[in-house]
């Protein structure tokens, strides 16, 4: 469990993190979403005991990270943004070193190395120097080194940066596995889609502050926007207007011979009704856009997330 209260981190006059309060539970994936420089890495740095907070308190599995740093670190596994590995050592040797740094030894260490190599799909390349590995394989090993000691709290700092789509899917599945096995996962990312698909709860961070926090549904509700349904095909605009005009709550944003854009609440449940009303038109494509974190971010900050 991670408990952060009123965290503040200052570098001279610059405040990197201000009033950050969050709680992440065992078995939960808690996301920190925000643009580069928002303070996500600083927050994770403070939680992992790498940085000393300027104010506030952080407890990891009940241990204060400032007063009881070593005990807190025993519970923590960190997967840093960088590939913090030794290129001239094999996957097995890297795991052995990082496992040893966490206090594992002997048969327990050997068994666990084999286990995580299997988990990350690197067992058949265990004895190879990792400088021969692809970027995705190194990322997986970087992850493996963070979980080799079965941490109760797993901190992941943008672990999928620069990873190919296949490896990304695999890594995200590994993260879900950790949460399923009871670990409390704190995951930072600036990829909105990743946060939406992975995290149980999210905090959106900007300029060192949490600007919104909650489940995905709660955050979407904060946008207050309606779903957008875009249809492509062959339409008769006048017939469409007359057919859809009678459905309560459906607003026609745009209608021409080839495209139709409608705004409504809860569009996914109303699709059969829409399709029935458009009977006689030739439909070729349907796109449903729900209120997103991106739109929430724009609403809260006035700028795009990727800026």
């Amino acid at each position: 469990m991670i408990e952060v209260e009123q965290l503040r981190k200052q570098y001279g006059d610059f405040t990197a993190v201000q009033d950050v309060t969050l709680t992440a539970q065992p078995g939960e994936i808690f996301g920190l979403l925000g643009p580069n420089g928002a303070g996500k890495t600083t927050t994770i740095g403070c939680i992992s005991t790498l940085l000393s907070p300027s104010g506030g308190t952080i407890r990891v599995m009940g241990h204060d990270v400032v007063k009881d740093g070593i005990e807190a670190r025993r519970s923590i596994g960190v997967v840093p943004q960088e590939i913090a590995l030794y290129e001239d050592l094999s996957a097995e040797e890297n795991l052995s070193y990082w496992g040893g740094a966490q206090g594992l030894r002997g048969a327990e260490l050997r068994d666990r190395i084999r286990e995580v190599l299997d988990l990350t799909g690197l067992l058949d390349r265990a004895k190879e120097p990792i400088k021969r590995f692809s970027g995705g394989m190194k990322r997986r090993l970087n992850f493996a080194c963070g979980i080799v000691h079965r941490p109760k709290v797993l901190l992941l700092d943008e672990p999928t940066v620069g990873v190919d789509p296949q490896s990304r899917v695999r890594l995200l599945e590994l993260v879900r596995d950790q949460a399923r096995s009871g670990a409390c996962v704190l995951y930072t990312t600036h990829y909105m889609e990743e946060a939406e698909s992975l995290c149980d709860r999210l905090a959106i961070v900007d300029h060192g502050r949490i600007i919104a926090q909650g489940t995905l549904r709660e955050l979407r509700a904060m946008v207050g926007g309606r779903d957008i349904l875009r249809l492509t095909g062959t339409f008769h605009p006048e017939q469409v207007r007359s057919a859809l005009g009678g459905i309560d709550g459906v607003e026609i944003i745009h209608a021409d011979e080839t495209q139709l854009a409608l705004s409504m609440n809860d569009a996914s449940h109303r699709l059969p009704m829409i399709f029935a009303a458009l009977n006689g038109s030739e439909l070729r494509g349907t796109t449903l856009t729900q209120p997103s974190l991106e739109s929430l971010f724009i609403k809260l900050t006035g700028s795009e997330l990727r800026e």
């Binding site: 913090a84 030794y86 070193y97 740094a101 966490q102």
Partner: protein
């Protein structure tokens, strides 16, 4: 303790994966040693020095003796300068010459009349080869003079070869001149390369990762130091064994000499880690390392042994960190290294370890 060992093992494994790099670090000093041996070794060119002669006799016997140093092979090795005894002693105090020969007033007359006579030879303790040559040559000349004297019923001339009290008793032989400096040049290069690894670990994020584990930075640095120490001990043992076998280097105690090489090499390693930790980037750290180590290697007897350096430079060189290590290795080879020297180096290593583990911890964050 366990993390110290696994960190050392990790570094040694990584070094083992890069044998070419290790060989390259050793190639430069080996190459220079070979060149020096070819040029200055037996059969090659000879070193050049200055012999000061204070001739207070100024008669034929003294003239014959001093002229002998100006001729033949000796003449090629020595520049003879005639000066007063007072000036000669002043210059010897400054270490400006290889030796001072004082021929007393009445030397020739005493020789002819069969009176006992003593001549003084003051040797420069910072040099060995040239003072040895001068003393040996003078001894031969005096033996010959004595043999003539025997025919003429003249008592032998006594040579009083004074050596300015030296801190160290140094071993003999060409290898003893060449090897210590060359060895410490190699150790300095390797220390630089090993120290650069700390920067690589910082850049890769490995240091930050260590900071998030229960392991301590003191143990991490101690592990790296242990790996470096074992590496230097191995290199030292190999170099001494080769020099002993092939160059007839006299080694009073292999364990003591190897222990000194390992300990002083570790100290040099920590010095370079300290220099590099002050740098703002890996590139700057490499530049700073070269900026510091190359002049130190040159001054510290790496490229040219102290014996063949100008006196003033040799004096400075002997007090550079690596120069001091070279001088102490010579003492260790002769078997007279004092335990206090080991205590001193251990204290330096301990102090630097305390400072640097904090610096590295800070650098990681």
């Amino acid at each position: 303790m366990r993390f110290i060992w696994i960190t050392a093992l990790k570094d040694l494994r990584r070094l083992g994966r890069e044998p070419v790099a290790v060989l390259t670090w050793l190639a430069i000093p080996s190459f220079i040693s070979i060149i020096l041996t070819l040029v200055f070794g037996p059969g090659g060119a000879k070193p050049h020095g200055t012999l000061l002669i204070a001739d207070q006799d100024k008669a034929i016997g003294a003239t014959m003796l001093t002229n002998a140093f100006d001729q033949g092979a000796l003449g090629k090795m020595l520049t003879v300068e005639h000066i007063t005894e007072a000036e000669g002693r002043r210059r010897m105090d400054r270490g400006d010459a290889s030796a001072l020969l004082v021929i007393p007033s009445g030397f020739s007359a005493s020789f002819v009349t069969g009176q006992p006579v003593t001549i003084d030879l003051v040797r420069n303790p910072a040099q060995r080869a040239l003072p040895d040559i001068i003393e040996d040559s003078l001894g031969i000349m005096l033996e010959r003079a004595a043999s003539y004297g025997a025919v003429a019923q003249t008592p032998p001339i006594q040579l009083d070869a004074n050596i300015i009290p030296n801190k160290t008793e140094q071993p003999d032989g060409f290898a003893a001149i060449i090897l210590p400096g060359a060895l410490f040049m190699g150790i300095f290069f390797i220390a630089g390369a090993l120290a650069a690894d700390v920067w690589r670990e910082r850049t890769s994020g490995a240091l930050r990762r260590i900071a998030t584990t229960p392991a301590r930075f003191g143990a991490f640095l101690a592990g790296k130091l242990l790996a470096a120490t074992l590496m230097f001990a191995g290199i030292g043992a190999l170099a001494l064994a080769v020099a002993h076998r092939l160059m007839h280097l006299r080694v009073a105690s292999f364990p003591v000499a190897i222990a000194w090489i390992a300990a002083s090499g570790s100290c040099l390693y920590l010095i370079i880690v300290l220099i590099q930790s002050a740098a703002s980037s890996e590139r700057v750290s490499t530049f700073m390392t070269n900026l510091v180590t190359l002049p130190l290697v040159m001054l510290g007897g790496g490229f040219v042994p102290f014996e063949w350096m100008p006196q003033s430079l040799a004096r400075i060189g002997e007090w550079t960190p690596n120069g001091w290590c070279v001088m102490q290795l010579r003492v260790a080879l002769s078997g007279s290294l004092q335990p206090i020297v080991f205590v001193t180096i251990a204290a330096i290593i301990g102090a630097m370890w305390l400072i640097e583990m904090r610096i590295i911890r800070k650098a990681a964050c």
